[in-house]
C-alpha cells in the first residue's frame, strides 16, 4: 500500500494527515490533530481492503 504521512505535530492545533491508496486505486486521507496519536493501527493499514 502506498502511504504518505504528513506530520506537523508541534502545534496542537496543527493538522496531520496520512494518505493511503486503496486496492481500487482511490485515495483515502486520515486526518489527526495535535497529540491525538495514530488514528488507525499499523495492522489495519497493511490490510488494504478491496473496496
Amino acid at each position: 500500500m502506498d502511504e504518505k504521512i504528513h506530520d506537523k505535530s508541534e502545534n496542537s492545533d496543527e493538522i496531520n494527515y496520512r494518505k493511503i491508496i486503496l486496492a481500487d486505486g482511490r485515495y483515502m486521507i486520515f486526518y489527526t490533530f495535535g497529540e491525538s496519536g495514530e488514528d488507525f493501527s499499523e495492522e489495519n493499514a497493511a490490510e488494504e481492503k478491496d473496496v
Binding site: I15, Y27, Y31, S36
Partner: protein, 329 residues
C-alpha cells in the same frame, strides 16, 4: 459510466452518472460503509478501527480524476465531454449516530481545518476550476447514507449558481465600487431583525431574499474570498457559529433538522475575484414540524421561489434557540 453533457438552452453542463444507481441506499447501521471497520466486524470502506476525520474519493463518483471516454459522440449542438473532476466524501466522526450539530465545537473546528486543507489541495489541480464543499443531511433532501458526512466536488468549470453570484457581485462592485455582501451585512446590522447569531468574524442571517423558510446564510465579516484567506481566529469563529446554527436548527422542532449546506468560495481557476465574498448557505426544507417545502412548478419550472413565510419572523424563531458555545479544550 459518466460523462458531461452541455445544455445549450441553459448554457450549462450536467453530468450523467449511470453507475450511481447501484450505490448503497440507507443500509442498516450494522452495515454502514462509512463506519470504522471494527475488529471482527463488517468490512466497511474505511480500513481503520477508528478515525477522527477522513476524506476519500467517492466510490460512486460523478466526476473522476481520470474520466472514461464518453460513450456518445460530441457534436456541435449536443456537446459531450469527459467528466473530469474530483468527488470526495468527508466523514465527520466515527460515531454513526451523531450529526454535525451534535458534535462538540472542537470537532467542527477540526472539520473547518480539513475543509481548508481539501480546498487548497483540490484548487491546485490543473483541471479544477471550482471546489464545492457541501452537505446533504436527512432523508428529506435525498440522503442515502446516514453516517455523518459531507462531500466535495471539484468541477472542471464554474457551476451555474456561482456564475450568477459572480455576475451580480461584479456588477455591484462596478456600479457602487463596494462589495455587495459587505453592504448586505451593514444593512442587516442596522435592521437587526434578520440576524440570527454573530461573533467577531461571522454573522448568520436569514436573508431578506430567503427562498426557504429557514434559509440561513453565514457571511464572513471580513471581505475575503475563499478558505485560503482565513485566519486561525476565523477558523475558530466559523466552527462556533456553525455549532450555534446547527444546534438551533435541531431545537426548532426538536428533530434532527434536514438541510443542504453549500459553502460558496470564489473559483479556483486563477482569476481575480476580489469582488466576491465568502459565505455559506443552508437550504432546510422544513416549513414546520410536519411540512416540507417542495420545489414545485414556479421554483423548478421557472426558477422563481415562493416563500410563504417572512424571513424576519423565521429569524426570530431561530434566534430564540441560539445558545452560547462552550469549548471543552
Amino acid at each position: 459510466m459518466s460523462e458531461l453533457r452541455f445544455n445549450p438552452l441553459l448554457g450549462e453542463w450536467l453530468a450523467t452518472a449511470t453507475h450511481r444507481q447501484d450505490r448503497t441506499f440507507l443500509p442498516p447501521p450494522d452495515f454502514c460503509p462509512l463506519c470504522p471497520t471494527r475488529k471482527n466486524g463488517f468490512p466497511t470502506e474505511v480500513p481503520a478501527e477508528t478515525y477522527e476525520i477522513v476524506a476519500f474519493e467517492n466510490r460512486f463518483p460523478s466526476l473522476k480524476t481520470v474520466p472514461e471516454t464518453p460513450a456518445i459522440e460530441s457534436g456541435e449542438l449536443f456537446a459531450v465531454a469527459p467528466s473530469q473532476g474530483v468527488c470526495e466524501v468527508v466523514l465527520y466522526s466515527p460515531n454513526h449516530s451523531t450529526t454535525l450539530a451534535g458534535e462538540p465545537v472542537e470537532q467542527i473546528y477540526k472539520l473547518v481545518k480539513v475543509w481548508r486543507h481539501r480546498f487548497a489541495e483540490l484548487s491546485a489541480l490543473d483541471f479544477v476550476r471550482y471546489v464545492f464543499i457541501f452537505e446533504n443531511k436527512g432523508e428529506a433532501v435525498g440522503v442515502t447514507l446516514h453516517h455523518p458526512h459531507g462531500q466535495i466536488y471539484a468541477y472542471p468549470f464554474v457551476p451555474p449558481i456561482i456564475k450568477r453570484e459572480l455576475k451580480q457581485t461584479q456588477k455591484y462592485k462596478r456600479e457602487k465600487d463596494r462589495c455587495l455582501l459587505c453592504d448586505v451585512l451593514d444593512a442587516e446590522k442596522r435592521f437587526e431583525k434578520r440576524i440570527v447569531a454573530e461573533n467577531d468574524s461571522f454573522a448568520a442571517i436569514i436573508p431578506f431574499y430567503a427562498r426557504y423558510p429557514f434559509e440561513t446564510h453565514i457571511i464572513s465579516k471580513r471581505h475575503l474570498q475563499t478558505f485560503n484567506d482565513f485566519s486561525e481566529r476565523e477558523e475558530r469563529n466559523l466552527a462556533e457559529i456553525l455549532k450555534q446554527i446547527l444546534a438551533a436548527f435541531d431545537r426548532l422542532f426538536d428533530v434532527s433538522f434536514p438541510y443542504i449546506m453549500a459553502i460558496h468560495n470564489a473559483p479556483s481557476d486563477g482569476g481575480d475575484y476580489d469582488f466576491y465574498h465568502f459565505h455559506i448557505e443552508f437550504y432546510p426544507p422544513m416549513r414546520s414540524v410536519a411540512k416540507l417545502k417542495y420545489l414545485a412548478g414556479s421554483e423548478a419550472g421557472a426558477g422563481m421561489f415562493i416563500n410563504d413565510t417572512l424571513p424576519e419572523t423565521k429569524a426570530a424563531e431561530l434566534r430564540a434557540h441560539i445558545a452560547p458555545v462552550v469549548w471543552e479544550t
